[in-house]
């Protein structure tokens, strides 16, 4: 994706193999040293050319190739480190290599202390935060590339001008995790250089997936599938304006469903879609958007409207399907599902909370992680653990649902907490109302490394005719015996 450089997938595969052999140096002493880190010649060539270029072609490629081979195969350092070391050794500037060392947003992992990235500023805001030694000016916002978006904070903002739409090359940033999401932080060591917009051409299709589309049902659509062929019915669709390369474009966003489930979609072209349409989409690309897999397609896909199909009707598909948590864990989330389970715990941070007026983060000891000491805005929410016997997930209830659960308004809760001189009373009330309670909930389920999270849209106490089901099961058992 970076102009004339090798495809990302090839690079990352090589990078991944080198550190893993470093991790277990003593694993097999008899193993030949070259094994496991041997690179295909053409990959090697492109790295050599890149190093040569960074050194202004002062050093013969043959010599570079020999050194690179030595670093990677004999000393088994990662390709990145090897390239940097060679450039440094010959008196060059490793910054000239950053193009290949960069990661895509999707590849970012928390806890990386030296991240390089080519990205577009999707959103940026300058503000002042309170830190222990006074006020400090920072920039924060969102960075994006063709693989996804990531929040960022630049802690050394004086003299740094960033505007929406800018394409920047970032080196030596670090990553952290906040609420299960990776964030990019630009500290004192970070180097930010502006690039022309062409450096990051807009591509709704990830470059590395390749290959022919695979046939899939909706429930088989998950991150990393790449291109799919899918037959599904449009449940809902609406136009949405998005800004691409500074220009406004209309996309069509909605929900697709088949008998196995439902999935969000984005059509980058106006197909004149309407709810109820049965479609065959050949070459839709699966991406993850806000923790949910989604299908996007444009003129590169073949989209066909079917007059006849085996798909269930619109009304049937519009009902929120029952799901087991075990299956959702395997699928990595789902849109608008109904779950039945028992609440087995109510977590910290449930009940009456205060949010930062700037960024809505929950305050800890009257302090926002990003904006320091602020006057909090009160809110109600519940983080419950719902368990259905096949798996467990975090179920988040918003203010409205929490008020309904407690049968109290936010104001009444504030009053109650004032009287008790503690917000704990509200959490206790939530615990009393929910723990050990069988419930039925409906909403979207997203997934991250901490597991699944359900944003509850509807909740009700589960009432099951226990006798009827027991009688039926007993009857079946007696029949089969």
């Amino acid at each position: 994706m970076y102009g004339g450089h090798p495809p990302r997938a090839t690079c990352s595969r090589v990078e991944a193999s080198a550190p893993s052999s470093l991790d277990n140096p003593g694993q097999d002493p008899n193993r030949p040293k070259e094994k496991g880190s041997k690179m295909a010649t053409n990959e090697m060539d492109s790295h050599v050319k890149e190093i040569a270029k960074a050194l202004g072609n002062r050093v013969p490629e043959q010599e570079i190739a020999r050194e690179l081979e030595n670093y990677v195969s004999v000393y088994r350092v990662s390709v990145d480190t090897a390239k940097r070391s060679i450039v440094k050794k010959h008196g060059g500037d490793p910054a000239g290599l950053l193009k290949a060392a960069g990661k895509t947003v999707q590849e970012l992992r928390a806890g990386d202390n030296a991240v390089s990235l080519l990205a577009r500023v999707v959103y940026v805001d300058r503000r002042t935060v309170n830190v222990p030694d006074g006020a400090k000016e920072i920039l924060s916002g969102i960075l994006g590339d063709n693989s996804g978006t990531v929040p960022f904070t630049a802690w050394e903002a004086s003299g740094l001008e960033l505007a929406k739409g800018d394409v920047v090359r970032i080196a030596n940033a670090y990553t952290k995790e906040y609420r299960g999401r990776v964030e990019v932080h630009l500290g004192a060591r970070a180097v930010i250089t502006r690039e022309p917009p062409e450096a990051l051409p807009f591509q709704p299709r990830a470059p590395a997936t390749g290959g022919a589309p695979v046939p899939a049902t909706v429930s088989e659509i998950r991150e990393g599938v790449g291109l799919v062929t899918l037959t599904a019915r449009v449940l809902q669709v609406e136009p949405k304006g998005v800004t691409v390369d500074g220009a406004t474009k209309t996309v069509h966003h909605g929900l697709l469903a088949d008998a196995t489930g439902r999935v969000q979609f984005t059509a980058w072209k106006d197909y004149g879609l309407a709810a109820g349409d049965a479609l065959r989409i050949e070459g839709g690309l699966v991406k993850t958007f806000r923790g949910l897999p989604q299908v996007s397609f444009d003129e590169r896909a073949r989209v066909e409207r079917l007059t006849e199909s085996d798909l269930p009707g619109l009304e049937q598909l519009s009902q929120s399907p029952r799901a087991w948590i075990e299956d959702l864990a395997e699928r990595g989330g789902a849109v608008d599902v109904t779950l039945r389970g028992i609440v087995v715990d109510v977590k910290e941070g449930s009940g009456l909370i205060h949010r930062c007026p700037e960024c809505k983060r929950v305050l800890v000891k009257d302090s926002c992680r990003l904006h320091g000491v602020v006057k909090g805005v009160p809110d109600l929410r519940v983080k419950a653990v719902l368990d259905d016997g096949s798996g467990a997930l975090s179920a988040i209830f918003d203010r409205e649902l929490t008020e309904a659960l407690l049968q109290k308004t936010l104001e009444q809760c504030l009053e109650q907490a004032r009287e008790a001189m503690s917000v704990e009373v509200i959490r206790d009330a939530v615990t009393d109302a929910l723990v050990a309670q069988p419930i039925e909930v409906r909403g979207n389920v997203t997934s991250d490394e901490y597991g699944l999270m359900l944003m509850v849209q509807e909740a009700r106490v589960l009432r099951v005719d226990v006798q009827e089901e027991a009688r039926a099961m007993l009857g079946e058992l007696e029949e089969s015996s």
């Binding site: 028992i342 087995v344 723990v435 069988p438 901490y450 089901e469 027991a470 009688r471 007993l474 015996s481």
Partner: protein, 285 residues
């Protein structure tokens, strides 16, 4: 780390477990393996909390609670490492319907006998409707495990792969394979009977049978108490009390049924004539 699921299973199946699995490391989770292949790290239990004893002290309580379901009794232990549950247990007046979320653990006696118990994370008083719903959920999952176990018994040499072909999820296949290795092809009729018992418990037309009180042992006699105390003294050779199994064996020899012994021990515990210095050992005061 992904949160462990809370298994729904009856005391009858859980208490038949003789094996605790662990990957080794200090922080890696452990699992109680049941004969039907449930690999239980956490479980959800509901039933009647019949009695609570404090095995610790007033200031450092260590509670043992018994929770009875249609098939048997769960032994629930809560001490300093289960502060939330211990505080909750202290406030419950038995008998009461409860729901318990807890961790699965086993205790191994010196003789090598293994007893499965529950370390509660949360315990709540619930109503009969919730308890009934729990019984129904247990029946659903037990039926599924039974069906899979039956299919597995039909295989020549069941492996994880062949079990998955039968429709097991990867996790269920792994548990079932381990259970077949550990327990062999267990008698499934025992668990089918448990399933039927659970279902009948929910139905008024079978209520007479279901509501039959848990067999009340005959009131222990003074003679039995003397006998137990005598044997306790004889067995307590190192001052650490008598092992429960040794006591059981000695009493069987003396012609006393296990249920009678249990009842006698309970009376003596209540009266403060004996106590449990550590789990599984009984000592005279």
């Amino acid at each position: 780390m992904i949160r462990e699921v809370a298994w729904r299973l009856f005391a009858g199946e859980y208490n038949d477990s003789r094996k605790e699995l662990s990957d080794g490391g200090d922080r890696s989770p452990s699992y109680v393996l049941t004969p039907l292949g449930a690999k239980v790290n956490r479980l959800l239990v509901s039933g009647v909390l019949t009695d609570i004893e404090n095995l610790g002290t007033e200031t450092e309580p260590h509670f043992r609670a018994r929770v009875s379901d249609p098939t048997g009794i769960f032994h629930v232990y809560a001490g300093q490492y289960q502060p939330l549950a211990a505080a909750a247990i202290a406030k419950i007046a038995p008998p009461a319907f409860v729901m318990v979320v807890g961790k699965a653990r086993t205790y191994t006696t010196e003789q090598g006998n293994v007893y499965a118990n529950v370390r509660p994370e949360r315990i709540r008083v619930v109503n009969a409707a919730i308890r009934d719903y729990w019984v129904l959920e247990c029946c659903r999952f037990l039926r599924k495990r039974l069906d899979l176990a039956r299919a597995a018994h039909g295989l020549e040499a069941p492996t994880r792969e062949s079990l998955q072909k039968l429709g097991c999820s990867p996790a269920a296949a792994e548990g079932l394979e381990a259970a077949l290795q550990e327990y062999g092809k267990v008698d499934l009729s025992r668990y089918t009977a448990m399933l039927v018992e659970g279902l009948r418990y929910l139905l008024p037309e079978h209520r007479e049978r279901a509501e039959r009180p848990v067999e009340e042992p005959a009131a222990p006699t003074a003679e039995a108490e003397e006998k137990v105390l005598g044997i306790l003294t004889a067995l307590d050779t190192d001052g650490k009390g008598a092992a429960w199994d040794a006591l059981l064996a000695a009493m069987a020899k003396a012609g006393m049924e296990a249920s009678d012994l249990e009842a006698t021990i309970d009376v003596l515990l209540d009266r403060g004539a004996i106590y449990e210095p550590v789990l599984g050992r009984i000592k005279r005061i």
